[in-house]
Symmetry: C2
Subunit: 201 residues, 2 copies
């Protein structure tokens, strides 16, 4: 990792990862910072903390506030938002495909499309048909991408990413990690993570 780089750790199931993903590219470009997208799974990390599901479901007052906050936030950012009927969604297959795409040229756009499908269009991102449609829209052959995504090597890779996230002390998403290992948690910290990457402090 060069100095002016951040790792952007996210889970497709994570609500605040949505605005962070949608606004990341122009901010990073303006700050002269390269962002490496690192999909991982929050599920195992939540389970290790004793949470069988999202804390937003476990703690209803917190959850209610989050949905309203996200709605206000997306309105402010002029990002489309519609509260999904199902939350949290199973992000496993989408994350596996993202890993394949991020080795190729279509990773970032795939990530944005998945988030948009989930949080703007109430799509089911665990639905292979929806993911295939997104891939086709990006001129990617779905069958080939899905084969690569579900290969043993790629499954292991996603598991390793999640373990790496946990070792870094990541406990929520999005999280931004600089080259000198500063961990910034939450969409609210994206700007500060970028200036840290640029200035080293």
């Amino acid at each position: 990792m060069s100095e002016r780089t951040i790792d952007f750790w996210f889970d497709f199931a994570s609500t605040y990862s949505y605005p962070a993903m949608m606004r990341m590219e122009p901010l990073a470009r303006a700050g002269g910072v390269t962002v490496r997208l690192r999909p991982f799974l929050l599920g195992p990390i939540f389970q290790a903390q004793g949470w069988p599901t999202s804390p937003f479901n476990l703690y209803p007052a917190k959850g209610q506030n989050m949905w309203r906050d996200l709605e206000r936030l997306c309105a402010d950012l002029e990002i489309p938002f519609r509260r999904p009927a199902n939350f949290p969604q199973n992000s496993l297959l989408a994350a596996r495909i993202a890993l394949v795409g991020l080795d190729d040229t279509w990773g970032a756009e795939f990530c944005r499309s998945v988030f948009r499908a989930e949080f703007a269009d109430d799509g089911r991102i665990d639905d292979e048909a929806l993911l295939s449609e997104i891939l086709s829209g990006l001129q990617v052959a779905p069958e080939r991408a899905l084969d690569a995504a579900t290969s043993d090597a790629n499954k292991t890779r996603l598991r390793s990413q999640t373990e790496e996230a946990q070792k870094l002390g990541i406990f929520g998403a999005p999280s931004f990690v600089t080259a000198d290992a500063e961990v910034f948690w939450g969409n609210d910290r994206l700007e500060r993570a970028l200036t840290w990457a640029r200035d080293g402090r």
Copy 2:
């Protein structure tokens, strides 16, 4: 509550209430918004969620990130910060005194002094001697303030404030509530709560 007003709900034990309290006044003045300080106790609200102590202690990765984040944040804001040896502290007596002061002229300055003692000077805010010293510094007779603070009527009042917070859906501190009942949670949302109070959206 007039339209251009927000209620600023805080607990002296809450870490992010510290920067919010320290930066609130100039921001509110600039925005033309009146802020009403509403001390309450997070303890009963946390207990109702099944947490015997602060989630920052229950979930070490989250706690570690919070302390580092708070340190960075205070540095950015040029607010003194020193991680207290004891966390969370018992904020009961300080909150009771604050209620008395907020009926008088010295409430806001008392609140800032308590937060400073706790998060900049590693003081014990459950220590009557420290609180008396703060009161004396504000030209308030400690014994009289302490008597008023520990009266049955004032104890009941603090309990009512906490119940009101819970009814509003407050689950953490600081929280900002506008006249039209929008709840904004967290130091990060202070600016947005103020613009909402000003613009009604």
